[in-house]
Symmetry: C2
Subunit: 108 residues, 2 copies
């Protein structure tokens, strides 16, 4: 029965951490350098870079070296895929509730 | 900067596993007993019950004992909250892209 979607494993794992969600929130407001992303975090640059690696592995963000600066950018299609999965589940559930309502209505 | 939402930590962690997503998919089609959920899974009942515990801890599902059977039901509000978080991020990002488009348009 399990429908293996390794992408979703990685995306949801990446989003299960408050620091990584904060980075995603920051990047949805526009690209940022690694040092800009690290500045407000109460942790070492190495720790921030580990979180960035998890985000990049999940394809939620891309990074590229521009001279001596590594710039990070959101890759929103993966976010949309996770949102679509959740939306589909919620719609399925709403349909079930509607059908249950119809059945209960018929019984009255 | 991190905006701590322990709920979202647990929800995204719960969804980061294909077996747990399969259980969520099954439950969005209606309530099911633990044995019904375990039947199609290639794993021990104990392993399935561990996954169910993670889902219940994240409040994605509820379970209750009815006689000798434990029935599981979706709790869709948490799913909706995770979907809302993703949707908000995606909308922010789209706004950024639109603004970038406007700026590039002005430059021409």
């Amino acid at each position: 029965m399990p429908n293996y979607q390794p992408d979703l494993d990685q995306v949801f794992h990446a989003l299960a951490d408050p620091t990584r969600r904060a980075i995603v929130e920051r990047l949805t407001r526009g690209p940022a350098s690694v040092s800009e992303l690290a500045a407000p975090m109460a942790m070492s640059l190495a720790a921030v870079m580990q979180h960035l690696q998890v985000l990049e592995d999940s394809h939620l963000m891309r990074s590229e070296k521009r001279g001596r600066v590594r710039m990070c950018t959101m890759a929103p299609d993966v976010l949309a895929r996770a949102e679509a999965w959740l939306g589909e589940r919620r719609r399925f559930w709403s349909t079930q509730l509607d059908q249950l309502g119809d059945i209960l209505g018929e019984d009255e």
